[in-house]
């Protein structure tokens, strides 16, 4: 069916909502990439089979819905029962008949499948009562986990394209721009440029042809918010782009998706086809006379292609390398024509901003960072997953209230934000309200919203080395400071973690970092020293220990660390089993011993020891012991 007028859209919306209202009983199975990996597809199929087999679809109007990511990936596969709002975690397909029997037909809750709050070990049945969900405010991710991403009617029942209809029929392009300006929304890709300012600059550029692009090349280690949005609610991205194109007078759009996101490509493509069929995309959108179409371009797997000018070159079929942006891409972008490129999350927010008004969006957040922001919360935290919160939420709230605190209640050490361009924030800054300015002041950045929580068993030199290795691999190699500088910097860090550090290394690191920050061509190179500089700023003593004492205070760097079992070992034998090199000797219920000549310092024993009876000490002391 093709929608050709405002009234027809309203009728379609009413119909969709009515259908939704009639489908009260639903089993929502999370089919995001995380849950799919743990068997969600089989769970959804098992529910569909069981329901059909028992005729429950006809009898009680029960249906299964495969949704996008619920965010709580760590507990997947996740299943939510509506209308009760009951959440089951770690559901396996083989348990589905039992669930249907007991929970759906018998109204009985299976305690073992409920979420257990690590804070008090209490089991929480209701989805909305779980701290991980309770504390969130969802804008860009408003429909993820609620709708079937491949069903346009379902999306429309949940307000998809309502903002578009409002923009097309009740607003002029300039009014749309004003509304976005009122919202104060800033780019969600990391740099935080004001959306409206970018759009206005593109609109003011001479020429009649301009492009609207979506950056779905999310490549930061530990970040997956854009993937979840593209997979779980592709229509929100399309809607945002259509509204943007309407405001700018553009007729061509591209979504650049990294090829490692196959499900995102499939769901986006399906959404584009459905939207075209419904008259929401293509010529004469909703009968308004406005034309705009979107095509998908799949990236080749280079991190640097997430940088705007490299992305545009890659999109044009050239090598994905950045160029100097002294002339902005809003004036000379794709094919040297005026171009607006926004991040997936930015576009996903636009529909809601137009639908609810810019003032509504601006009512959330801080003075200069408005609205909400999605974060991928990962690392040594109890509740990992995807969250969306108002700007200005403190790190402590995110890590302890939503994340449930550090795994195994170990001491918190730092949180890395902003991916390879970001930095590590130490414990004394945990009350920092998260917004663009504050994170930058702390030597980190918003980036794409990745948050990696680290506990005391983390060596900050090793962390910096990890990001350097990643960037060395991903630098395009066009400019000297980034290409040669990263390689040399990585060399210095290799020496540090292997115990070959020299006096003066810290100063060499600082000089090189300054040269890279000032001299590199693109932001990837300019920000590459951030993980180094922020760890150096907050954890300088660890660097000094690596150099002066040949010691890794966290006991992580293998070449510097030896392990030993202390006298309070109760001989549980767990470490014996965990050791990959048979370096541990001991019989059950007796003190165990580590043979240093066989030990490879992997730390497996320490991680499994239930009595914390294994300690690390600088390997250099071994030589002293031998002499003694």
């Amino acid at each position: 069916m093709r929608i050709e007028s405002k009234d027809q859209f309203a009728a379609f919306q009413a119909q969709a909502r009515e259908r939704e209202a009639g489908r009260k009983k639903r089993v929502l199975v999370c089919c995001g990439t995380g849950c799919l990996a743990t068997g969600a597809r089989e769970v959804a199929e098992a529910f569909a089979y069981e329901i059909a087999e028992r005729g429950l679809d006809v009898e009680i109007g029960l249906g299964v819905k495969s949704t996008g990511c619920h965010g709580f990936c760590e507990r997947g596969p996740l299943v939510v029962f509506q209308p009760e709002g009951l959440l089951y975690t770690k559901v396996q397909a083989k348990r589905v008949p039992e669930i249907v029997e007991k929970t759906i037909l018998g109204g009985e809750i299976i305690p073992g499948l409920l979420y257990k709050n690590p804070a008090d070990n209490e089991r929480i049945p209701a989805y909305e009562e779980i701290p991980f969900y309770k504390n969130q405010v969802r804008v860009a991710m408003r429909n993820i986990g609620r709708i079937d991403p491949t069903d346009l009617t379902d999306a429309v029942a949940h307000d998809a394209y309502a903002g578009l209809a409002k923009a097309l029929f009740e607003m002029t392009p300039d009014e749309v721009l004003d509304e976005v300006e009122t919202s104060g929304q800033r780019g969600r890709g990391g740099a935080g440029f004001y959306t409206a300012r970018k759009w206005r600059s593109c609109k003011a550029a001479p020429g009649d042809r301009r492009f609207v692009l979506c950056n779905g090349d999310e490549g930061d280690p530990g970040a997956f918010k854009d993937r979840s949005i593209m997979e779980g609610d592709p229509h929100s991205v399309l809607e945002g782009m259509i509204i943007g194109a309407y405001a700018l007078g553009a007729h061509d759009g591209y979504i650049y998706v990294r090829d490692e996101y196959p499900l995102a490509v499939v769901n986006l493509q399906a959404a584009i086809v459905e939207a075209r069929k419904a008259g929401l995309l293509g010529e004469n959108i909703l009968g308004s006379g406005f034309d705009f179409d979107i095509r998908i371009s799949r990236g080749g797997g280079a991190f640097v292609c997430g940088e705007s000018s490299a992305l545009m070159r890659s999109l044009a079929g050239k090598t994905g390398e950045p160029r100097a942006k002294y002339v902005h891409s809003t004036e000379k972008g794709l094919f040297d024509l005026p171009t607006v490129l926004n991040n997936v999350e930015t576009w996903a927010g636009i529909g809601a901003i137009i639908h609810h008004g810019g003032a509504w969006f601006a009512s959330m957040g801080t003075a200069r960072s408005k609205g909400t922001k999605a974060f991928s919360l990962v690392g040594k935290v109890k509740n990992t997953g995807l969250i969306e919160l108002p700007m200005g939420t403190t790190l402590r709230h995110i890590i302890y209230d939503i994340g449930g605190g550090v795994l195994k209640d170990r001491p918190f050490k730092a949180v890395q934000t902003g991916g390879p361009s970001g930095g590590c924030i130490p414990e004394n800054l945990l009350d920092l309200p998260v917004d663009y300015e504050r994170l930058t002041e702390a030597g980190s950045m918003m980036g794409s919203g990745g948050m990696i929580v680290m506990d005391d068993r983390t060596c900050m030199v090793d962390v910096a080395r990890y990001f350097l290795a990643f960037l060395t691999e991903e630098s395009c190699g066009k400019c000297v400071p980034c290409r040669e500088g990263l390689k040399q910097m990585l060399g210095i860090f290799d020496a540090l973690v292997e115990g070959r550090g020299r006096q003066g290394d810290i100063e060499r690191i600082e000089t090189l970092a300054a040269g890279m920050q000032l001299g590199s061509l693109c932001e990837l190179g300019k920000s590459a020293p951030n993980p180094v500089l922020s760890t150096l700023k907050y954890f300088r003593s660890e660097y000094e220990a690596h150099i002066a004492d040949r010691a890794c205070p966290a006991g992580i760097c293998r070449d510097l660390t030896a392990f030993e079992i202390m006298d309070d070992c109760d001989g549980c034998h767990v470490c014996f089993k965990a050791c990959p090199t048979n370096a541990i000797e001991g019989t059950i219920k007796e003190l165990h011993v580590i043979h240093h000549d066989l030990c490879i310092s992997c730390g497996a024993c320490l991680d499994v020891c239930p009595t914390d009876s294994i300690r690390t000490f600088p390997k250099i002391e071994l030589a002293v012991r031998e002499v003694v």
């Binding site: 100097a324 190699g477 000297v480 290409r483 300054a514």
Partner: protein, 255 residues
């Protein structure tokens, strides 16, 4: 025509030029390795960084930019020798010296910036290639694109496709001639030229018999320009002889 101040000197330049040209017009030398008149600026070597302030900015606010590709603007102030500019150039040259420890051009530039020895780890496989991209860009510019940069980051290299003799190469030597460090090797004899692992047949001047141009290059230019092949075959010496003969003839006529 915008007027700028470069290191305190006023200079007026055309609208559509870059800062590098304005600096040169002001008589200020700015080092660069990847820039070449006639090719689009690239901004890869980062040696031509300068401090720049727009007229509308606060007096003490400067941004560091590359002079080769930053457009000029009325009232700009440019400083080419501020401490941070020199420090950045030193880091760039220090890094290049580690990569190319045996390359005379890099040694000289480094020395001019006070670097005798690199502070970084020496490249275990010293090369003369500084990856300035001039060769690939001039090859693109001629319309051949026989070579390109391959791989990325530290592994980046200039190479023909699949590291095999490039089928599109015309043996024109533009890449070798433009290379600032003479990294690209070739041989030319009276009958044959070799470059990038390919052999090219030479066309010889019909009169003097000396090798002038590869057949592939003459064909490429003839096809693109419509000028007959015979034009390209004539050697410079041949042309001079022709001129000399004419002059001789005129002298005879005159006397």
């Amino acid at each position: 025509m915008p007027t700028l101040k470069v290191n305190g000197r006023k200079v007026t330049v055309a609208e559509d030029v870059y800062l590098l040209e304005a600096c040169r017009a002001a008589g200020v030398e700015v080092p660069t390795l990847c820039n070449f008149d006639g090719l689009e600026p690239w901004g890869g070597c980062r040696l031509c960084v300068v401090d720049m302030s727009l007229a509308k900015w606060d007096d003490d606010w400067f941004k560091m930019v590359t002079a080769c590709n930053h457009p000029v603007e009325e009232g700009m102030t440019v400083i080419t020798d501020s401490e941070r500019v020199l420090a950045t150039r030193r880091v760039v040259l220090d890094l290049l010296l580690a990569r190319c420890p045996e390359t005379p051009l890099i040694q000289r530039l480094a020395r001019e910036h006070g670097i005798e020895e690199t502070s970084y780890e020496l490249n275990p496989e010293p090369t003369d290639c500084i990856l300035c991209g001039l060769c690939t860009r001039v090859c693109d510019h001629i319309g051949v694109s026989a070579i390109a940069s391959t791989d990325r980051g530290w592994g980046r290299e200039i190479a023909p496709p699949f590291n095999e003799p490039p089928p599109d190469c015309i043996g024109c030597l533009a890449c070798a001639e433009i290379c600032p460090t003479d990294h690209i090797k070739f041989t030319t004899s009276n009958s044959c030229r070799t470059i990038w692992g390919r052999e090219f047949e030479m066309l010889r001047d019909p009169k003097t018999g000396e090798a002038v141009i590869t057949k592939a290059q003459a064909e490429h230019f003839a096809a693109r320009s419509g000028v007959p092949m015979t034009y390209f075959e004539t050697s410079d010496r041949s042309k001079r002889l022709e001129v000399a003969k004419t002059v001789e003839r005129l002298r005879v006529v005159k006397s």
